[in-house]
């Protein structure tokens, strides 16, 4: 907790410490990452086919961060998310059908159609509606941690944010306040190298977000965000510290989004070679290869089929679900409806 706390680094590809989970658990992590990947790929096509309103910010490539971090959380722990929340939502346990229906703008969606892609969330599983203002969650999360501290629970809050948010004032104010109040928070940075189209190195002279932890007297750690077991292990340490009252941790996950920033992004700002290099480190492929050393490929294929069937079911559920009533747009601004004018 000293102000010159060193930033520890787990180098990509370095020998991993013994992982304390069994094969079944690893297989489940594989299933969850595959669910996120296939969810993203399928909703992209549905969007192109004109079935989904709005826009999409997708997280293919970043599955290990969402799955690895949320794997060490309890249902009663909370997360805040970003404009790119699909993976976080599925990893924290938002119902797949309700998440899909929300993208369809249906009444059965997890936010009743009022949130949409950028505000996926469900309080019953510990996820605020995702906060689509860059850095927006970095201050709100301090209140979650403060409430847990004041109520003397042992809950932990995780704030997912991107490299872009680390240049927002909110990042600095949130981290400093969490530090001086010793709040049970893990700030989980998904550094995917680009804020929309802008390379992080153009907007920060320090290459590692985690090094900013030292400025606030908290522990920073860098982990390979393309390795779900490494993320899980680092997040487990950070969450355990936060839960024990040792204050916040800044965990930087080096990752990469395989898709563009949003639906219409043709990725002209980065090279196809760079993309290919990162795809070599695809977190799902890596875990699958590891599992295939001990498991029959058929088990993994069956898992993939199970994921596909769940997505088929969720898409069908969303398609069949009712639209919200138009007048529902006028409820829930307040606890009780106050004058908002009347519909024509």
């Amino acid at each position: 907790m000293s102000s010159d706390a060193p930033v520890s680094v787990t180098e990509p590809g370095s020998a991993r410490i013994t992982v304390d989970i069994d094969a079944a658990h690893e297989l489940d992590l594989y299933r969850r990452m595959q669910l996120i990947r296939r969810f993203e790929e399928r909703v992209y096509l549905l969007y192109l086919q004109g079935e989904l309103p709005g826009t999409l910010h997708q997280s293919q490539g970043q599955e290990a961060v969402a799955a690895g971090v949320c794997d060490v959380l309890r249902r009663t722990d909370w997360i805040t998310s970003t404009h790119r929340p699909h993976g976080h939502a599925l990893a924290k346990g938002v119902d797949l059908r309700a998440a899909m229906a929300e993208l369809y703008g249906k009444a059965t969606g997890c936010c009743g159609g009022k949130g949409g892609s950028m505000h996926l969330g469900d309080p019953s599983v510990g996820m605020l509606p995702a906060i689509a203002i860059v850095g927006g969650g970095n201050t709100v999360v301090t209140g979650l941690g403060l409430a847990f501290k004041l109520m003397r629970t042992d809950q932990v809050a995780v704030c997912f944010f991107g490299d872009g948010a680390s240049n927002e004032g909110a990042f600095h104010e949130g981290l400093n306040f969490a530090a001086v109040q010793h709040l049970p928070i893990v700030f989980a940075c998904e550094n995917n190298l680009y804020g929309a189209s802008t390379p992080f190195h153009q907007v920060s002279l320090v290459p590692d977000v985690a090094s900013r932890a030292a400025a606030y007297g908290v522990r920073g750690e860098i982990v390979d965000g393309m390795d779900v077991l490494a993320v899980r292990e680092a997040a487990g340490r950070a969450v355990a510290e936060a839960r024990a009252g040792a204050g916040p941790v800044l965990l930087e996950c080096k990752t990469y989004r395989f898709a563009g920033h949003s639906r219409g992004d043709v990725r002209g700002y980065r090279s196809r070679d760079e993309e290919a290099e990162w795809k070599e480190r695809d977190p799902i492929v890596r875990l699958r290869e590891r599992l295939a050393e001990t498991l029959d490929e058929g088990v993994l294929d069956a898992m993939d089929a199970q994921v596909e069937a769940a997505l088929d079911d969720a898409i069908e559920f969303a398609r069949q679900s009712s639209l919200p009533r138009a007048e529902d747009a006028l409820t829930d601004a307040y606890a009780t409806v106050i004058s908002t004018g009347s519909l024509p």
């Binding site: 969330g121 309080p123 605020l128 509606p129 979650l144 001086v180």
Partner: protein, 348 residues
């Protein structure tokens, strides 16, 4: 701290600062989820908040429930929003309403929208106390920015002008399940108000028994038949002074304190306008886009054929606030300007 005449028999006269302190202490005793968060509010040997409202509270409630933040309004507001989302009932303090602009995202994008985005599953039961008003502090410590927030669905906006309603409304705000911005005028807290408000007694009777005053309800401060005057904060007291002077000329003003700007108690205003046929609105917020414009529009929509003259607004001129008293008092609505507007309205 009490200013004005000594209390009459049976009266318990308090300043707004004292009434607010009482409301906070009572609510903290009732509900352990209520806590205070702000800058310079509980520091040992400190100020008890920028205007002394919290003096003595740390002794009773301790530092666990009176949380001093860094000078970090985004963190302060974000912490209040987040804690409220988890079921706590924070009372946050911003020292000066001018600092609201430091935490607009937390208020406008987060606090105001979380209930809606979650389809009604979440609540943000927080109060943010925001001192407003000119007091020779210049352009960045004297604004009345309440109208910005009247434009934000999901927020509630309260403006208090006397100790009785300040206490009752703050207690209601703490118990409310939605975020409430609570605007208090710096000149009305205590003794300074008396001098700059022309020697008026700013204390009010506050019963010893507990009470709440509902959010969304206006009060008629002075009944009359010639013209309706709607005003908040210092402009309310200046309107009352103008009404007293105009009474000598046979102009009988009905003066209304809306107390809550969002949701607005339209019915009380409409009923008064239907009776008087004339409306003057006075506020220290600037003119263009101020809440008076919204009220004028609603009255025009609903009561046009009751009106016998154009609606008149008296507001701060559309300039930043200067410090030099002669300029400052030119910018904000004075008794003379309010009188002139009422006269023109009654001649129309």
């Amino acid at each position: 701290m009490t200013v004005g005449a000594p209390p009459a028999i049976g009266e318990r006269r308090l300043t707004i600062a004292e009434a607010l302190r009482e409301a906070i202490a009572e609510e903290m005793r009732h509900d352990e989820k209520v806590f205070l968060i702000g800058e310079d509010i509980g520091v040992d040997g400190g100020f008890g908040g920028a205007f002394g409202v919290y003096l003595g509270l740390t002794e009773e409630f301790g530092h666990d429930r009176i949380i001093d933040t860094p000078i970090s309004e985004k963190a302060l507001a974000g912490a209040a929003v987040g804690a409220a989302l988890m079921g706590m009932r924070p009372i946050a303090d911003l020292q000066y309403a001018d600092f609201l602009f430091e935490c607009m995202d937390e208020l406008v994008n987060q606090a105001a929208k979380m209930r809606y985005m979650s389809n009604g599953k979440l609540s943000v039961p927080m109060v943010l106390r925001c001192p407003v008003g000119t007091a020779n502090r210049g352009a960045q410590h004297g604004q009345c920015p309440e109208s910005y927030f009247v434009h934000v669905p999901g927020l509630k906006v309260v403006c208090v002008s006397d100790a009785y309603h300040a206490k009752g409304l703050l207690k209601s705000a703490v118990r409310d399940d939605d975020p409430v911005l609570f605007f208090e005028h710096k000149l009305l807290y205590g003794s300074k108000g008396r001098e700059q408000a022309g020697g008026m007694d700013l204390t009010a009777h506050v019963p010893k028994e507990e009470y709440c005053f509902p959010i969304g309800k206006a009060v008629v401060k002075r009944e009359g038949t010639s013209v309706t005057v709607v005003a908040t904060h210092m402009s309310l007291y200046r309107s009352l002074a103008a009404a007293d002077e105009l009474a000598r000329d046979g102009i009988d003003c009905e003066v209304i304190d809306p107390l809550t700007l969002l949701p607005f108690d339209e019915e009380t205003i409409f009923a008064s306008v239907r009776k008087t046929g004339r409306l003057v609105i006075a506020h220290e917020d600037t003119l263009t886009g101020g809440w008076g414009a919204e009220l004028a529009a609603r009255v025009a929509e609903e009561c046009l054929f009751s009106l016998e003259a154009p609606i008149r607004r008296v507001a701060s001129y559309d300039v930043p606030l200067p410090v030099a008293p002669i300029m400052e008092q030119t910018v904000v609505p004075s008794v003379a300007r309010i009188k002139e507007a009422i006269r023109r309205c009654c001649e129309g």
